[in-house]
Symmetry: C2
Subunit: 249 residues, 2 copies
DNA sequence: TAGTGGTCTAGACCACTTC
DNA sequence: AAGTGGTCTAGACCACTAG
């Protein structure tokens, strides 16, 4: 591993510099809390323009390796390994990665007046109508999760059962209300299986379930959708990976 | 909301353009799957340099609102609301956000030969030594979670009990082995409480626990740490939020 | 006041896709 | 061949921090 930028490589200079700096940080040559050389100085040292240096530093900042502070400098920080980006609602992708056969069964569709809990979550009146549906997610014919979704009912736009069965929740909301949700809030906890979920998932009542609760909002914060996922504890695991820059030699 | 860039505003042009484009996407003026005008064209329209336009598009791409494809164009995509970035191992921050009094008790510290399971997870020999410790996390004196951590034992570097009690796992690894882990893999599932965890958390055996399993690796993929968190299902919830650009009028 | 990062410009060349 | 995004340059001015 060299300390200079090789302009004949396919790897672009900003990425080469990122690898060099990452190497120096990880080897302890640059220590936690210490400042990096300034952007102009790095540019001089490696014969790069300041914009290129900045692109490199942005890359390292995204990974949590450095922290830029206006007027002060750019400082080494520890990698943000405690952030975990989980992807949900992508059941099919997840399953096919594990080479299982995924499927989804529509359990129920309903248009009705909301219970007081649902009315509160969706911020609708008790007299309004709410569209709700449930799906059972399967892998190789084994039940994995139960999903329950609620959104405001919009008379003018019926939804096909087919859509409900296979499309992602935010897409269904878009199709049904022409409002694109742009804020989301997700809660994650463990719950014991109630009788209904236990029956669908074919597990004993009281079994541990991984529960994800998802709220979708419009840009101005109006709730448009509420969703619950119950993953069977011993059949499903969410995975998250944080990996370093590729190709550091 | 105007359709031109106001250079007297404090909001920088690249951000103003992002707001304008987000507005057009969300209002349906630009539809899902359609291409945006090219970068040079946007520059001409709004009287901005191409680099500024690109900075704006990067912002929208990070949010998942657009997707740039080399040689083809930049296309509208739906917001990535199904990504959930959870932050763990930051117990104290999380608790103080909720204005609870956080605390951590060191339950056990151990240096011993690994069981076959641990030897496998840490890729060490059965004859090697492994340092393990357990912590009980509390909020307002109520037990919230049990943590169990394992790392390779390094004779030369003793660790103070105080460190073990309060510091983040990756920091402890750095202090003990002088290796900064930079890859992590995190698994999340629901489990039933075994007898040990039930006793520490003061819940019945079989209660649902949110289980997080964390692997820490060096850059070249050598395992350096293995950690388990067991959160009490009905006392702790992980939260994740995705919010839109601020200040769109 | 000097140095830092934050933003911006007006060019340039390249890799890739489409026709 | 034309158009797209990906990268890079050599300047510039600003806002912020520190001595």
């Amino acid at each position: 591993m060299s300390d200079t930028i090789d302009r004949n490589k396919f790897v672009p200079p900003y990425y080469q510099l990122a690898q060099i700096l990452e190497q120096k940080i990880l080897s302890g040559e640059l220590r936690l809390g210490e400042p990096l050389p300034s952007e102009t100085e790095l540019g001089k040292t490696y014969k790069l323009s300041r914009m290129t240096v900045r692109k490199c530093l942005n890359l390292l900042a995204e990974k949590g390796l450095v922290d830029a502070q206006q007027g002060r400098g750019t400082f080494i920080s520890r990698p943000a390994l405690d952030r975990a980006g989980f992807i949900v609602d992508e059941f099919h992708k997840e399953m096919s990665r594990r080479s299982l056969v995924p499927d989804a069964k529509l359990i129920a569709v309903n248009v009705s007046k909301p219970t007081s809990e649902i009315a509160e979550k969706l911020a609708v009146k008790q007299e309004d109508r709410v569209l709700s549906f449930s799906r059972l997610l399967l892998a190789d014919n084994t039940p994995i999760a139960v999903e329950r979704k609620y959104l405001r009912f919009n008379k003018g736009r019926p939804i096909l059962e087919n859509e409900l069965q296979y499309r992602a929740f935010s897409e269904i909301i878009l199709a049904h209300t022409e409002v694109l949700p742009v804020q989301s809030r997700m809660l994650m906890r463990a719950e014991a299986a109630d009788e209904t979920n236990a029956r669908y998932l074919q597990v004993p009542v009281g079994s541990p379930l991984l529960c994800l609760e998802q709220f979708l909002y419009t840009k101005v914060g109006e709730p448009v959708g509420w969703g619950l996922f119950y993953y069977c504890g011993d059949r499903f695991t969410l995975v998250s990976e944080v990996v370093p820059l590729k190709g550091v030699e």
